[in-house]
Amino acid sequence: MARITASVYTSHVPAIGAALDLGKSSEPYWQKVFSGYHFSKQWAKEHKPDVIFLVYNDHATAFSLDMIPTFAIGTAAEYQPADEGWGPRPVPKVVGHPQLSAHIAQSVIQQDFDLTIINKMDVDHGLTVPLSLMYGQVDQWPCPVIPFAVNVVQYPVPSGRRCLNLGKAIRKAIESYDEDINVHIWGTGGMSHQLQGPRAGLINKEFDNAFLDRLIADPDGLAGMPHIDYVREAGSEGIELVMWLIARGAMGDLAGGPAPRVAHRFYHVPASNTAVGHLILEESK
């Protein structure tokens, strides 16, 4: 039986990818960002999953305005890093897990989540920057990845409650998979940031830290927060944080188990326009 053993949360700022790809990671500005991931890289070596279920959002890359899926699951064998306008990031292709992802798609659709199934797409910084942060510059990613894209670009985006419940459904789906594999689920995006208009550059440390506190200890309450609070408090692009609730919803305490263990927590301002948050939660044994 497949099982979820940990969830990982992290911002996916494109400039972090650029800093790595352009060899700037030793500059003091970026050292402050990467310092928060030293522990995580070590942890990642000691806790190697068989598959990563990676929740992220596409930033007008694979999905134009022609077709905007609320929730999209990748069931392809592989995904190429996208050219977002600067040329593709020089990172490995992402190998998928068609069998597990098709299984999850089937189960989650039967639990009344109306997924879009994707067999061909390029993946943007939303997916590749978290992998770079956790695994560094490598020739290949250490395991298959299932991309799960959430629409947070065009309103309305799914509610926090819907996201948390989706996480619960994903857990059920994974636990019904007939192979003894270890799955990590990642939630990415955020934290507070705004990339547009005269309000660009908004950062809200109090909000972000309260979000981390509640994500750990009160995910159910946090799921009730309406979109407008994200926008007002965390900036228009801070809405990406709803995706963290999908990963959180997949942890065992929301299925009646014990609370997860906080393995790591990090917060830093800024990376480019954005507050960087990072959290690792392990299932209690």
């Binding site: 005269p198 550059g201 007002r232 480019s272």
Partner: protein, 146 residues
């Protein structure tokens, strides 16, 4: 009752909803086309001619030519689409975001290093924060666009 748009009173902020998406459809799809290297080259070689291939409004085309991202957003553009325009000219997200504030690159970068823009006074239109309409432009940049 019509559906709620509770996000209309957030200062200096345009939420990309269905209405904005309709307005900006061709502008945003034009931006998407810049994800191909050959299109970027064609666009840079003759911006006006490339834009004229798209059924965009004249105002949208002028906003693109001026790299005026605030104007683009007002005309239905979304920052993730517009980012392809910035990328085509080698600009970073920080340069793009900063260009919408009236600050110079240095002023904006320094604001971010100092902890970013405070939400205080910037939650609702009518307060007195830095993003409020009566306090624009915020910096000393003399550049009109990106």
């Amino acid at each position: 009752m019509p559906l709620d748009k509770p996000y209309l009173d957030v200062p200096g902020t345009t939420i990309f909803d269905a209405e904005q998406s309709r307005r900006g459809y061709h502008l945003n799809q034009f931006c998407m086309s810049l994800m191909k290297a050959e299109n970027r080259e064609r666009f840079k070689a003759n911006e006006r001619a490339y834009l004229d291939e798209w059924p965009m409004t004249e105002a949208q085309k002028e906003a693109v030519l001026a790299r005026d991202l605030n104007a683009c957003i007002g005309l239905g553009g979304n920052i993730y689409f517009l980012a392809k325009l910035g990328a085509t000219h080698g600009k970073s997200f920080q340069q793009m975001a900063g260009s919408m504030t009236g600050m110079t690159e240095e002023e904006y970068r320094d604001m971010m290093i100092a902890g970013g823009r405070s939400p205080e006074g910037n939650r609702r239109t009518g307060e007195d924060g830095t993003a409020q309409p009566h306090r624009q432009p915020q910096g000393t940049s003399t550049k009109r666009g990106l």
